[in-house]
Amino acid sequence: MESIIERILQNKFWNFHGGIHPPEQKTLTSGKPIKQLPLPKQLILPLQQHIGRQGDLLVKVGDKVLKGQALTQSSNPMAVPVHAPTSGTISAIRKSAIAHPSGLSELCIFIDVDGDDTWKTREICEDFTKLNKQKIIQKIADAGIAGMGGAGFPTHIKVNTKPEINFLIINAAECEPYITADDLLMCEQSEAIIDGIKILEQLLNPAFILIGIEDNKPRAIKALQHATKNIEKISVCVLPTKYPTGGEKQLIKILTGKEVKSGTLPIHSGIVVQNVATCFAISDAVINDIPLIRRVVTVTGQAVSKPQNVWALLGTPVNHLLEHTGFVTEHDSSKANPPVTSPPVIMGGPLMGFSILNEFVPIVKTSNCILAPSRAEMPSAFDNNSSEVECIRCGQCADVCPSQLLPQELQWSAKAKDHQQLNKLNLFDCIDCGACAYVCPSKIPLVQYYRIAKAEIRQQQQLDLKAEKAKSRFEARKLRLEKDKNAREEKHKKAAAARKIAMSKRSADGGSASSAVAAALARVKAKKKAKSNDELSVFSIEKAESSSVLSVSSDEVTDEKSQVKAAIARAKAKRLAKKDDVSTLKVANKDSEEKEKTIKTVKTVDDKKAKIAAAVAKAKAKAKKEQQPEQSLPSSNEKEVKATSTKTDDKKARIAAAVAKAKAKAKAKKTQEKDQLAVMSNEAHAPFKSSNEESE
């Protein structure tokens, strides 16, 4: 630790492996100040502009919003809100193409700008040193700040750390060609950036703060040195220009000589890296209460006549920026015959950026550059056919790889989709810098292969996860079904045992048919008594049980007359039960029980006709329940009885039971409240239909 600081103070830095020196092309924009653009007519704000999840919407179409008003709110720590960059009306919330290489559409908020630019009420904080840590983190989270260097990791998570921080590194390297956004920001807003760093210092309390900046930004270096000359803890480290110095792990290696192990984060080594633009956003958020609604964007390339850095509100469509910097398409002359593909516009730098789908793609929190190259400048962007030829195994890619991987090996394995081997070769330590593809003499787009392979591996992991989940759910279900089956068998066994006991009791009583009838009558009497004791719920269950016992045993008992009597007795008992003023809940309980019983009896009884009769009775009962024609109820039942009376005694008994049940149900329904009834009848429709079909 001591030696590291000593070395830093002497301005002797380490080096990282590999790296390239592409033409910088920064002079196109570095000499000009950051331009303020007029407000665009419409802003398009994707709900998700960073790694993590999107927040929940707070506004709806037609709402008037003020500048700085939050449009979403985060319910999840990995989500950050988005804010209205200016005042206006929300005209739509729908899917629209976003700044993503896929060109896919995501949910966006469209704001029609009113031009007034009215702020919401802000609380300007005079002295941030008086704020406590939680308050500052809350402010940062509410301002929707996500890392502005490229990945867009939510900042409030990165600064809310427990472990001791040795180094806070401010990434001002901006190593990619063309881009000068951070450079200009440092020149013009160095004081605010230093305020942001001070806020971070207050949060993290690091032992040392290092600002890593490449030596191709002399004005920014001077501005920073001037702003930090009275602060001992901060040291401006001027680094030799090399791509990709701005990579997080590479910058750490250069400044501290430490290597971040594969699969770990810098925080595990006591290091936090923040982008310089993020520092500016933090100071704006904490001191001026300005949420992250604008950023500096470099608009450059030879296809724009006035390349310049601009302050762009988030959500500004790219074409608005291009219009104000003099974008000329090379196909302008042939307007009658418009080109099939528009000239390429790249979001991000030439090495790590991606072509955008159309010019209405909005600026988001992570977009630092809009590059509109001319054909001569970047022929490959105009030509989608890859000019890739065979690998000649020169090994230059391995020489320049800043992560010390084996790009050539990775390429073979990526082409062969050998995911295991790719993991072995540490594909996920690749930072997508594109240095290998830049030096490749065979023009192999190596990074593209890696990106595809990474996406495939991630998807495979997701599928594996899903398969694992499906498996456990399947096993759980199998277990549950098994348990249910066992429980059912257990119940059946118990029921059978109870039946046997009842049978043996009956035969012990006399063994003759008349004794069975007597027993049934006795039961009915007992039931009547029990009922008068107001023990309705207990009674109904008991009754239901006895009825099921009777209906099943009726098959076994040979004496038909006794069966009939028993059935009649049962029916009478039920009718009596119904006359009582029963509460709707109990009725509902009983009702469902009886329904089950009906279905059971229908299933167990072999006689088809009886089944049909029961089904008809049920259907009628249902029909009545729906229309409530109380008068027709008895007549229909009588008709039913008449129709079936011609059949054998055995059948009669069964039918009587079914009719009785149907009646009971109808009556039960009557007692129910009307609204409940309506709902029930509607819902009952389907199962009844299916059971009818079944019985036929």
Partner: protein, 193 residues
């Protein structure tokens, strides 16, 4: 002691069973497509070869020679080898089920690996004593393992490489084996026995 060491080096490098004597080529081509399998096969073959040369020495010296039954050597050697292979198969199945699956048919096929019978017969012809037989058997197996693993590592790389279409698959493997054989010829004269 030096003799044994020289014998070992001689069998592994100079008189390599696969690349110089061209014995055991069938597993050399058959199980070299994956390094993992090749390593498993190497261990199994080493075990079988060492044990087989030991047992065949015992059988010839203590059973066949006293009874003047030398004409039964080939037959009894095959018996010995078959038993050892069966035994190895059982051990492998018990210890590593996946290796057992990976080796598949090649495990029982060690029985017909000519290198195994070759080492037993060569032991007899070269009139090796007990320890020399074991060292020779082990050395032959080690040489076999060395080239098999090296070859499989190369083939793994070749599988992903952009080989010209007519040479894809077995063709390029044969060429590689030929080049390896050429390379091993460089060892000739390293050890004078």
């Amino acid at each position: 002691m030096t003799d044994y060491l020289l014998l070992l080096i001689g069998t592994v490098l100079v008189n390599n069973f696969v690349l110089v004597q061209f014995l055991g080529l069938c597993p050399f081509m058959g199980v070299s497509s994956r390094t993992e399998t090749a390593i498993g096969m190497s261990f199994a073959t080493t075990f079988v070869m060492t044990l087989a040369s030991l047992l065949s020495y015992l059988v010839t010296t203590y059973i066949l020679a006293p009874l003047n039954l030398e004409y039964l050597t080939t037959m009894s050697f095959i018996l010995v080898i078959a038993v050892v292979v069966q035994f190895t198969e059982m051990v492998v199945h018990k210890t590593s089920s996946s290796l057992y699956r990976l080796l598949g048919i090649f495990l029982p096929l060690i029985t017909t690996n000519c290198a195994v019978l070759g080492v037993a017969l060569l032991n007899l012809r070269l009139e090796h004593n007990f320890f020399e037989s074991i060292v020779y058997g082990f050395g032959a197996a080690a040489g076999f393992s060395l080239v098999l693993i090296m070859f499989s590592a190369m083939r793994e790389k070749l599988a992903n490489a952009d080989v010209p279409t007519p040479f894809k698959g077995a063709a390029i493997a044969m060429i590689t084996a030929g080049l390896m054989s050429l390379a091993f010829m460089g060892f000739s004269g390293l050890v004078k026995l």
